[in-house]
């Protein structure tokens, strides 16, 4: 054993980027070892897609097919927003186990574990969104803006996921029990997702609610995503959709660092 300890040359300190990529690799390994996590991520949105399309679709939009055309971009936003909760739970679990103490006692870029979490999140969002989109295509959804529109929409989803991710990283850092992170997350997200234009056009809502729905960031994201996938998104729609993710990152990334170093 003494040999193992003495005959090792200390390698050169790696870069911050290299540190972050190693944590990204960890996230990929998690998919390999815990593939069932994908089941949690996609089952709810699949149920929503099927139920809303076939149960409410006809009543809401005239026919299930027409409703799906309206609903599918929204359910993609909902999927990404809800999935951010799971990464907060994962972080809370990691922190409870002392794993992060090891990371914090290493001479690495302090934010790299979080950068790695983000890589994992983005992969999760992409996989979940692809599955939902595939199901949508099978059911008859057609993105009128074609493949470029879909790619632009996915880029937008990544930005949304990145911004929302910080909210749950901060919650994960603040709250010790993973289930509390989940409960709190959904308590905050349900009104945000349902009081939006994801499921229905807000035209029939009372004025006070419509006023909220129209400025709800989730609505702004959904509007932009619909535009991108159907063609005809305006620059201002895209910019408005990105306001929340950019603001969240600007405020919460430094908060994350502060909370993490303060622990």
């Amino acid at each position: 054993m003494i040999d193992t300890l003495q005959n090792v040359a200390r390698p050169k300190s790696p870069s911050a980027l290299s540190n972050a990529l190693v944590f990204g690799w960890r996230a990929v390994l998690k998919f390999k070892h815990v593939p069932e996590q994908l089941f949690d991520l996609v089952m709810t949105p699949i149920m929503f897609t099927l139920l809303f399309t076939f149960v409410f679709g006809g009543a809401l939009a005239g026919s299930p097919g027409e409703y799906l055309q309206f609903f599918l971009p929204g359910i993609l936003v909902q999927t990404v927003v809800f999935n951010a909760v799971y990464s907060g739970m994962g972080l809370s679990t990691d922190l409870g186990k002392g794993l992060f103490d090891r990371f914090r006692s290493l001479p690495i870029w302090s934010l790299s574990p979080f950068a790695g979490l983000m890589v994992g999140d983005i992969l999760r969002h992409l996989i979940a969104a692809s599955i939902i989109l595939t199901i949508g295509l099978i059911l008859g959804y057609r993105p009128e803006a074609g493949i470029l529109g879909v790619l632009a929409a996915f880029a937008m989803l990544i930005a949304i996921g990145f911004g929302m991710g910080w909210v749950f990283i901060v919650l994960g850092l603040l709250i010790r029990t993973p289930t509390t992170v989940m409960t709190l997350g959904f308590t905050f997200l349900f009104p945000l997702v349902f009081a939006s234009n994801i499921m229905v056009d807000p035209g029939t809502m009372p004025d006070w609610l419509r006023a909220f729905v129209e400025v709800n960031p989730v609505s702004l994201m959904t509007t932009a995503l619909r535009g991108l996938m159907a063609g005809g998104a305006t620059l201002s729609q895209v910019v408005l959709a990105l306001v929340a993710p950019v603001a969240l990152t600007a405020i919460l990334a430094p908060t994350t660092l502060w909370l993490y170093l303060r622990r």
């Binding site: 054993m1 300890l5 003495q6 090792v8 040359a9 300190s13 390994l29 990691d94 002392g98 001479p107």
Partner: protein, 336 residues
């Protein structure tokens, strides 16, 4: 970082302490978890911090490992200031926390490769380093198993291996054998001794007096956030006084009665072992001990064993803190 040599030891030529702390304080609200601790740990030594649960051992160690910022006081670790140069401290230390700091979903090898890459080993070198460590810690066969399927002893071994990807100047071990069975505990002890032979300074916390006694060259006793004693195990015992009478009763039911008799005769507090079948008390002289034993026999209390000698560390702790011993106790204490 000015640590050019492999073990993070600045090659300045003169002997420095591995750890030198002055007046470290950490408060949580109104609780002073660590309340002005000085500590000097020479290089290459196994140093134990001994104390009951909640004494502040872990908090003290977390400060020294840069995981928690001191509210007052200062310290250097391998010559680097804790607050001014935490990154340099981190490059010179490794810490194995109380709870396995491993990713349960990953395999043993993946855990080590992850850390090797974070330390700067690339591709094949990271894998080779991990395989060397797995072999050195007897984990080669379990390399591709997920850590969630490891036994407690295997986890502990992997956890310590994970701290040795790059040989640290100082290794912090927070209660390294808590929750391990006796065999696994002996394994870990062997490992710790091996590391010390390789020149690693080791600071460990423990609530097992036996562990401190067996492993450490020096012991600091911590209680309520303060250091109440420090020395070699022999010095601590000598300071408490020799002439401890240990008695074991044949009938445990008469323990209270026996304790009363001993206390009345010897006029010192009587301590009970954790299992409850033994009593020990400072007797001072052989004559006094003899008289006390005679009292027990006269009262019809049958003894299964008795001895006189140096106090055990448990008794030292009792004498220092006024609290009964902690953790597990040993059969018969330290009989000469």
């Amino acid at each position: 970082m000015n640590d050019a040599s492999p073990r993070g030891v600045p090659s300045t030529g003169f002997v420095q302490s591995a750890i030198s702390a002055r007046g470290l304080v950490k408060t949580f609200g109104r609780l002073r978890a660590v309340d002005g601790v000085d500590l000097d740990v020479p290089r290459g030594m196994i140093f134990a911090i001994l104390g009951p649960n909640g004494a502040g051992k872990t908090t003290l160690m977390r400060m020294l490992a840069t995981l928690s910022r001191p509210d007052a006081g200062s310290a250097t670790v391998m010559g680097h200031d804790l607050v001014q140069a935490p990154h340099a401290v981190r490059a010179a230390i490794a810490m194995t926390g109380q709870f396995a700091s491993l990713d349960e979903d990953l395999t043993g090898r993946e855990n080590l490769v992850l850390l090797a890459r974070l330390w700067g080993f690339r591709g094949r070198a990271a894998k080779a380093r991990s395989d060397d460590l797995l072999a050195a810690f007897g984990l080669s066969e379990a390399a591709t198993k997920q850590v969630r399927d490891y036994s407690g002893g295997m986890r502990r071994r992997l956890d310590i291996a994970a701290s040795l990807v790059v040989t640290p100047g100082v290794l912090f071990l927070d209660e390294p054998t808590t929750g391990l069975d006796p065999n696994a505990r002996k394994d870990v002890w062997g490992m710790i001794r091996g590391l010390a032979e390789a020149g690693v300074t080791i600071l460990l916390t423990t609530q097992y007096l036996e562990e401190a006694d067996q492993l450490a060259a020096r012991i600091a006793v911590i209680d309520h956030g303060r250091k109440i004693a420090e020395g070699t195990s022999r010095e601590l015992k000598a300071a408490t006084g020799s002439g401890f009478l240990h008695v074991a009763l044949a009938d445990v039911a008469r323990l209270d009665q026996a304790a009363t008799i001993l206390e009345r005769r010897l006029e010192h507090p009587v301590q009970r072992s954790a299992e409850g079948a033994e009593l020990s008390v400072l007797a001072g002289t052989a004559k006094a001990a003899n008289e006390a034993l005679a009292d027990l026999v006269a009262a019809g209390i049958e003894l299964s064993d008795f001895s006189m000698g140096q106090p055990s560390l448990e008794e030292v702790f009792f004498a220092l803190t006024g609290q009964p011993g902690l953790g597990e106790s040993r059969k018969g204490g330290d009989k000469p």
